[in-house]
């Protein structure tokens, strides 16, 4: 089971992408738990996360999030802008899982 957390400013648009990613995971039979939330909520979130994906609109948080969470064994990445805009759940999921290899 892979835990993927998506964060953006309010958690609104990432939740749309989350739905697409869940559908794609189900279709491909990938065991993944995908959640979306606001960036500030993530700090107090106790659910496990393996991969942390940032929406492109909060890409400026990348360096500091990486500094905080990579030592804890969490992979941090910014979602590709166009994939994000096109709500390409399949591609984002694929890219995210590739981070683990």
């Amino acid at each position: 089971m892979t835990n993927i957390t998506l964060v953006c400013a309010a958690g609104m648009s990432t939740s749309m992408l989350m739905t697409k990613m869940k559908a794609s995971a189900e279709k491909e039979g990938i065991q993944a738990r995908i959640a979306a939330m606001s960036e500030s909520k993530f700090a107090t979130c106790t659910e496990p996360t393996d991969i942390l994906l940032l929406g492109p609109q909060v890409s400026y948080l990348y360096e500091s999030m990486k500094g905080t969470y990579e030592p804890k064994g969490i992979k941090v990445a910014v979602i590709n802008m166009v994939d994000y805009g096109m709500m390409n759940g399949e591609k984002v999921l694929e890219d995210a899982l590739a981070l683990l290899n």
Binding site: T44, Q57, M81, G85
Partner: protein
Amino acid sequence: MKEKVSVWFAKLNPLFNKLGRNYYLQAISASMMATLGPIFLGSFAVLLLVFPIEAVPQFLAASGFASILSAVYTFTIGSMALYVVFLMAKNLVTKFIPSDDGIMAGVIALMSFLFVTPLGTAADEVSAIPVTWLGAQGVFSAMIVGLLVGRIYILFKQKNITIRMPDSVPPMVSKVFESLIPTIAIGILFILVNRMFAATPFGNMHQCIYSVIQEPLKGIGGSIGAVIFLSLLQQILWFFGIHGTNVIMPLVQVLWMSMDAENLAKIAAGQKPENVVGYAFFMIITWSGLALGLALLMLVSKSRQYKQLGKIAIVPALFGITEPIIFGTPLVLNFGLAFPFIFNNTIALLIAYILTKIGILPVFMGTTPIFGLPLGFHAAVQGSISIIIAQLVIQLILSPLLWYPWFKRVEKKAILLESESEKIKRSL
């Protein structure tokens, strides 16, 4: 050019990181958003009291409901500062110390705020708190007291200045004792602060903060010039792919929302609201960053790429969510569409401002609009048909027109590219 600009801009990332993750700004923003419930309920009461159809206010007055509704107003919008002071302290503490729920700090902040609020005497010799400082006029004071109390409470916690109970004492009980020292210390501090301000010509802390900070700030940040400046800043940030709204809002939200509350107070008192701009004005006029128009143009585009994006983007855009259009087009660092992306909001704000000034649009009531409501419904909370129509016209007519000439140019290029790649595919 694109690379150069984005490399240069990336250097500013630490600044936005700092702004976006600043605990004080985050606490301010979260607190103002959390007042939405009571403010909304209060606005609804005001709306009914001044309902455009005469029969409604007449019925309310005759049936006695009017006094109930004005009480609802008094204890929601009219007491906004009480909610703000509690929330500011609570949210600041939970940001600094995630394990603390911040409730005690909120309670201490509320107490401190009341300590510096002057008591008055009603005509029948009953002691009373004048509501003057509990509403919009006290919001800045509430913010300052809330953040200050929160910060001092955090100091006490971090320095471990507290009464420690033996482990056998139940946690609920020891929690009460833990907060005793900060409560007493902060309480005494604000009693002294109150004495100090009583000796000044202002008479009390709220009056001082109102005259020295809130009023002058209103003159600067509450002008159409400042609104346009912030709108441009917001859109330029979006152009670089940064959530501009989230960066600028914490800076002006308290001011703009207190200006909205002033409008509501005026209306509740049967007077005319005066603040043309404010949070409601900004959010309703620049709804969706005017990106809905672009989504509409894409829906009918002959370019396959844009048509597909239009289909994906249109539904979220109708709810004011425009990330698909911003990142899918992309509008970020796209110089071909930079002009409308950056300036459309300003054009809409100016038009709405002028229409309000010459009396075609009414001054906004000031109800906090709720993000996520669909087009039209989003504007409905101002209780005015003309404001709803204004939002519809801006989004469905003005916005597509403003995007049209720029979009046609990038669309032409996209169609050309598409037909060329089609040709190559066929020849293979």
